[in-house]
Subunit: 168 residues, 2 copies
DNA sequence: TAGCAGTATGAAACTTGATTTAAATCACTA
DNA sequence: TAGTGATTTAAATCAAGTTTCATACTGCTA
């Protein structure tokens, strides 16, 4: 992947600038903890949960409490820099909002998460909401199944049972 | 709504017969608790959570423990008689599987849940999964926004903040 | 650049949804 | 209808997330 202009070593990552703007706008404070968490989230990129992020921060020497991790993730979600998903789990999954909105395919065997974007889905949403006189703000389409590496040789009955128990 | 043939007073509801078959097949036992829970679920019909169901059972005199409610809901989900959703919440929502698969519109102001089914969505899922070499078992599309009664006169910024914090 | 007001943090307690335990009870088979 | 294994219950436990409150710090302002 090509790096965008804002990524060069001499410039601040654009997510920092954006988060700072967000904090200033709401008269919130720019603290070391908040910036460390933001950096960790964007270094990771892919899907993660709050506890794993906290463990990772701790392992890397940053002494930041669980409460602050949760509080800061909330702020980042408010700010639009981080997205919160369920992906079938009982706990929240997060991802850095580096690109545009997309939906997810979740492999229930290995946990892999694939992303996709389909403009026709956005059209479909519009049409459904028109029919029902509903004003949409957000949608989430999750498809649960087996990825290319996991499909084959797996007891379908067992898979169906597991899928039924997901929070979907 | 017309009542189906199986609903007449002299016949057992078809969900009872089905649950009994499921239990027998797996050499599980048909207990009074399980049957009470099944009946309560199908009397209710609409979306509910485990704690509310437990409270309702208790209120109606049935002395069934929380653990049994949770365990039986799991069985009913396995059996396909009950569906489990998240609907943006951190806890599970259930519904009696009286009709075919459908997806949901969730009003984030009043909590109302509308259902819809679109064959073109099923087609779309097929096409996405073909592209990604993914074997789908289940999908869930949730649209979050404001229903006809709630839209208008609401601060969009506040709504966006609330939506971002959902487990979607 | 010191002081201040108010926000942020951390540790620990708490909450909520859900699961597990152990002992008593019950459903089914023979 | 006795035996055995599944089921139930209350209570303990667990996991994710939130709240509390005393202390520390940020961002002004003078």
């Amino acid at each position: 992947m090509l790096s965008s202009p804002g990524d060069s070593a001499s410039m601040r990552p654009r997510e920092e600038t954006r988060f700072e703007g967000f904090l200033r706008e709401r008269k919130l404070k720019l603290t070391g903890e908040r910036m460390s968490i933001l950096a960790a989230v964007f270094q990771r990129g892919s899907h993660f949960d709050a506890e794993a992020l906290h463990a990772e921060l701790k392992a890397s020497g940053a002494d930041i409490s669980r409460a602050t991790v949760y509080r800061t993730l909330d702020l980042l979600v408010q700010c639009g820099l981080v997205r919160k998903h369920s992906l079938g789990a009982t706990h929240a999954n997060y991802e850095a909002a580096q690109d545009e909105h997309h939906d997810h395919l979740v492999c229930i065997q290995c946990g892999k998460v694939l992303e996709f974007f389909r403009p026709d889905l956005e059209k479909l949403q519009e049409s459904i909401c028109n029919e029902q006189d509903f004003q949409p703000f957000h949608h989430s389409l999750q498809i649960f199944g087996l990825c290319s590496r996991c499909k084959g040789g797996i007891d379908e009955r067992e898979i169906r049972g597991r899928v039924a128990q997901l929070h979907t």
